[in-house]
Subunit: 111 residues, 2 copies
DNA sequence: CAGAATCCCAGAAGATACTG
DNA sequence: CAGTATCTTCTGGGATTCTG
């Protein structure tokens, strides 16, 4: 790697990535959307029982603002929503799957 | 992927990974140690000007406790230390380099 | 140089209740 | 169902000072 790529004095690329996915639950949300393709709000809640409804809502909104996920609203009664990854969000797949892979190996070591 | 791998009700692999690297500066520290091989305390500080000395110290200690990095102390005057990745820490390389890669692409889109 | 100790506060996050 | 609003609690992290 040429050295001019590795100029981190005012923000390295890792920090850019962190700005997008470092929220406490963001990468977990993205992970589930990779696996499930699309999810409703309460489905995500069940998949992440340690994340409060409030927190889930906040993290979803931030991911939406950053164009990582998109929300489809069906104006039915009762209301239905569906969250999916955007095309930008899908580019995070290799990264998130590396996190899955490393986590699996780590869990094997520690059980 | 077989479904029995994707059982996330009580903690998905992504969450395991997050437990290790989700500290505010941890993945940045690991990133620099990948690039530089080993670093002294003040070198890391210069590479991460937005991280206070206190924070750097805390994050280094946690990474050390989790066996991701190791510290070598040279009992000279003035004291010298050197931080490196452990063998476990080195297994995070693909993940961190994916973060670098994604960050670079993201920065290209947003400039 | 490489940290540790102490003090302090904004903001993160929980609990609970409410709503279109 | 899919959130929002409000209140409260607690902790992450800055600023500063001290030390081997």
């Amino acid at each position: 790697m040429p050295h001019h790529i590795y100029n981190c004095a005012e923000g390295c690329p890792v920090e850019s990535t962190l700005q997008i996915i470092s929220g406490k639950w963001k990468s977990v949300i993205i992970y589930h959307l990779i696996k499930e393709k699309n999810c409703r709000f309460n489905e995500l809640q069940k998949l992440m029982p340690n994340c409060s409804r409030r927190m889930l809502s906040l993290q979803l909104k931030e991911l939406e603002n950053d164009q990582i996920i998109a929300k489809t609203i069906f104006p039915t009664v009762p209301p239905k929503t569906s969250y999916q990854l955007t095309s930008l969000g899908k580019t995070l797949t290799p990264l998130i799957l590396e996190m899955e892979k490393w986590g699996n190996k780590y869990n094997q070591l520690h059980e």
